[in-house]
């Protein structure tokens, strides 16, 4: 009798504690879900940063050798990443903005109806109908690469001056010898004896292998709606930026990652689940070729005691230049050498278009 009473009391207390614990855990879980939503919101917004930076850079940079053709080509065939200058010299392929000022006359370039970006010769750096042509779309999957293209070593002093007193008799002692390049690639190239084309190619190509823990977090997607207007989709989740399952089926690979159904274990339900938990936002942004100049002074003649007599002094200070160093010459005063974003407008819903072109083609076609 007495033992049964004790059992009942103990069981009751245990049940009470269990109920309290479950309620507590449930509330914490609920709080975690709310926090997760805020975190995803923040991550998606970071993608707006990334997309704007991508738009700024893609109008002028990024048209070097394709990763498939990292070895310096012998000609300037399309896709080589190089153009041949008048003297026959191969030049790195660059562009001059989404709206190329050289198009103003409407006749100088082979295809005056297509807006930039164009290379030095005026040729569009894209193929019609594909990103970055008007109407094209690109996805940036923002996992971290094991080694980005053109990665260099963060070596501060690759050629340290020998100052060890015990080596005072050495010929090198105390001399600033440039025995090694000041900037060295992160990929081991065995310099000076082991430099090879393959090493160069690896340096250019980078290593797109995702760093563990950096996948499935966030992505952005840019659709070029008109010459300088873009619709940006920002996402925080693991769908890799595919709008729906049909797009997944249409694309076998995307930048630096496994694309297509294999990315989702050929499981549409999994993709839909990921899609339902994902945070997506849409923005319209507009690019402008206008950049804020460096710190610029037009110092009049007054300081020199003359007036309008060849004493005008236009001075421009290079970014982080050593002349006239000062806080106003720092990089923070010139954050936009590739253009500026005129405005950012949050859209109420998806204004972007499906991915361009036929399926099965890697998105970063250039």
């Amino acid at each position: 009798m007495r033992a049964g009473t004790v059992l009942i009391v103990v069981a009751g207390i245990a049940a009470l504690l269990a109920a309290l614990a479950i309620a507590f855990l449930a509330s914490v879980r609920d709080g975690a879900a709310t926090t997760e939503a805020a975190v995803r919101d923040a991550q998606a917004r970071l993608m707006l940063h990334a997309a704007c930076a991508y738009v700024l850079e893609a109008g002028r940079l990024g048209y070097g050798p394709s990763r498939a053709q990292a070895v310096l080509p012998a000609n300037d065939a399309p896709g080589s990443g190089f153009v041949r200058a008048n003297a026959g010299r191969l030049m790195h392929r660059e562009a001059f903005g989404w709206i190329d000022a050289r198009e103003a006359d409407g006749a100088s370039f082979p295809d005056p109806s297509s807006p930039g970006p164009r290379d030095q010769r005026g040729d569009p750096v894209y193929r019609p109908g594909r990103w970055p042509a008007v109407g094209g779309t690109v996805i940036g999957v923002m996992h971290r690469w094991r080694r980005p293209p053109y990665a260099i070593l963060p070596t501060v002093a690759p050629n340290p001056i020998v100052t060890d007193p015990t080596r005072r008799g050495d010929a090198d002692w105390g001399r600033p010898l440039q025995r090694a390049p000041a900037v060295q690639p992160a990929v081991g190239n065995g310099w000076p004896g082991g430099v090879t084309d393959a090493g160069w190619a690896a340096h250019v190509r980078g290593d797109a292998t995702p760093v563990p823990g950096s996948t499935g977090i966030a992505w952005f997607r840019v659709h070029r709606a008109s010459a300088a207007t873009f619709v940006v989709t920002c996402g925080a989740g693991a769908t890799l930026g595919f709008r729906d399952w049909d797009e997944v089926l249409a694309w076998s690979t995307i930048a630096g990652a496994v694309g297509g159904p294999a990315a989702f274990a050929d499981d549409r339900v999994l993709f839909d689940e990921l899609r339902s938990r994902e945070r997506r936002m849409w923005y319209e942004i507009r690019w402008s070729g206008a950049v804020r100049p460096l710190d610029f002074r037009h110092e009049e003649a007054l300081w020199w005691g003359r007036w309008l007599q060849n004493a005008f002094a236009y001075r421009t200070y290079p970014v982080n230049g050593t002349q006239y160093t000062g806080w106003s010459r720092a990089n923070r005063f010139n954050p936009n050498p590739l253009g500026t974003i005129s405005y950012i407008q949050r859209l109420d819903d998806d204004g972007s278009q499906p991915l361009d072109g036929a399926g099965g083609v890697p998105l970063p076609a250039w």
């Binding site: 309290l20 507590f24 509330s27 914490v28 609920d30 709080g31 709310t34 926090t35 939503a37 805020a38 919101d41 923040a42 917004r45 707006l48 940063h49 704007c52 000022a101 300088a228 923005y283 319209e284 402008s288 070729g289 206008a290 950049v291 804020r292 100049p293 710190d295 610029f296 002074r297 037009h298 110092e299 009049e300 007054l302 007036w307 309008l308 060849n310 005008f312 236009y314 421009t316 106003s328 923070r332 005063f333 954050p335 936009n336 500026t340 005129s342 405005y343 950012i344 407008q345 949050r346």
Partner: protein, 465 residues
């Protein structure tokens, strides 16, 4: 036979039992308090997360500045007003707020603005200058450093600035001509760029300005664009619309030369070698600004150094901050809950600056002023010192309580948003603050993020093309 226990044993047993019971009771209390505390923290955490999302929503929604989905009272930043101010040209003045439709403020200028050759640069009905300020193609995109030692291949500012030499109605920009005063030609030659036709000589202002005392005519396209933008939207809105490379200066209407400066005696002081009006490139002491510049060109706002600098957005914002005032003020702190349109107009044309020792108002100090707006504007005065900066920050901060009618045991969570322009950055400072109901402790989570810009918000509301 059972053995009875002694009194001592009974007392020990009771004492031990009490100790155990007390310990159990204390443990239960601690557990209960811990659970309560954990629940409270969880709730606080949840409210903070909701506050962060509310702040993000405001970042893109701009509801504190223009209630897109709320009551009409929240859309008062679409208003414009005609303040009782004296203007340099004697024309009527309409000043808009950041969400005012362009046409409403521009129409105020229409009767006195030139209708043809100079172009107003605003309305689509202008055939010659059928451009809007939101069209990048309307802006000069040259290199500000260009034209002194080069051939001006990126464009000549004078073509856009439309300043004039005395008694001349047309100027050929020709690099081959002699180095005449005014220096219209690039220093190192260059081609003939064409002729800038100014039209007839303007009528000088009637009062206090002899004919020989003015050099430049105002109604240039650039003047109209920049001046019009500032009047339409206030400082923040003006710079939001300006291209990054815009020269935020212009030759103003009927500017007078004054005899107290050494540049007034020179006949060649009309323009510099790049065709920029001297007025545009010189900075002046603040005390002289009002009478030297009845129209208050923008560089006066940044009168920091004696260097003569054609200011762009970089210098204009390097020592000055321009804020936006939320339509219903700082609700949490009960700061100016409902400003009048005139007050809103005033504060959207105020500047917070750090002044230097070459300014007459004192050594480095915070200073909030809008007296460059128009002489005689009501309440136009400097407010100097840290209280002035505090006032500026309070007025440009929108703060609201997340759950105003919360139970007393809930934490108070507030969300605030401040938008301002400084160092060429359009900064949106977001903050979520909370007060613990038990300890009374206050904490803030402050952060910033990229989101919809003013122009984007205007586009959301159909106020921009």
């Amino acid at each position: 036979m059972t053995r009875a226990f002694s009194l001592i044993e009974a007392l020990i047993a009771v004492a031990l039992g009490m100790v155990i019971a007390t310990a159990a009771w204390s443990a239960l209390r601690v557990a209960s308090q811990s659970m309560q505390s954990a629940r409270r923290l969880a709730m606080t955490n949840e409210l903070i997360a909701v506050g962060v999302q509310r702040a993000f929503a405001e970042l893109d929604g701009w509801e504190a500045y223009d209630a897109r989905f709320g009551a009409a009272d929240g859309r008062r930043l679409r208003a414009s007003s005609t303040p009782p101010v004296a203007t340099g040209g004697g024309r009527p003045l309409t000043l808009g707020l950041p969400f005012a439709p362009f046409a409403r403020t521009v129409d105020g200028f229409a009767p006195t603005w030139p209708a043809t050759a100079y172009g107003r640069g605003w309305q689509d009905d202008e055939r010659l200058w059928a451009v809007s300020a939101d069209n990048e193609l309307t802006w000069w995109t040259g290199n500000k450093a260009e034209s002194q030692e080069t051939d001006c291949r990126f464009g000549h500012y004078a073509i856009f600035g439309l300043s004039r030499l005395p008694a001349e109605s047309a100027i050929a920009i020709d690099g081959g001509t002699s180095g005449a005063v005014g220096g219209w030609q690039p220093r190192n030659g260059g081609g003939v760029y064409g002729v800038v036709d100014f039209g007839p000589e303007p009528t000088p202002p009637a009062a206090n300005a002899p004919v020989a005392a003015y050099r430049h005519e105002a109604p240039g396209w650039l003047y109209n664009q920049i001046r019009g933008l500032g009047d339409a939207l206030g400082w923040y809105g003006m710079i939001d619309y300006l291209p990054a490379n815009a020269i935020v200066c212009y030759a103003s209407r009927f500017q007078r030369m004054v005899g107290t400066t050494n540049w007034s005696a020179s006949p060649g002081d009309a323009t510099d070698a790049a065709g920029r009006p001297i007025y545009m490139i010189k900075t002046f002491a603040k005390a002289n600004a009002a009478w030297q510049f009845p129209d208050k060109p923008w560089f006066v706002l940044q009168s920091f150094s004696p260097n003569w600098v054609p200011h762009g957005v970089d210098f204009l914002t390097s020592y000055s901050a321009y804020g936006l005032v939320p339509v219903n003020g700082n609700q949490r702190d009960r700061i100016a809950p409902a400003m009048t349109t005139d007050e809103l107009t005033f504060h959207h044309r105020s500047v917070a600056r750090m002044e230097s020792t070459d300014m007459p108002i004192g050594t480095w100090a915070a200073n909030v002023s809008n007296d460059f707006l128009e002489p005689g504007y009501p309440d136009a005065a400097d407010r100097v010192g840290s209280p002035a900066l505090d006032d500026f920050m309070r007025r440009t901060t929108s703060a609201s309580t997340l759950v105003p009618l919360r139970p007393t045991h809930w934490p108070e969570v507030s969300v605030s948003v401040a938008r301002y322009l400084r160092l060429c950055r359009f900064s949106t400072q977001l903050a979520v603050g909370w007060t613990d109901p038990v300890s009374g402790g206050r904490a803030d989570l402050r952060f910033t993020a990229l989101g919809t810009t003013l122009r984007g918000a205007r586009r959301q509301r159909g106020l921009d093309r």
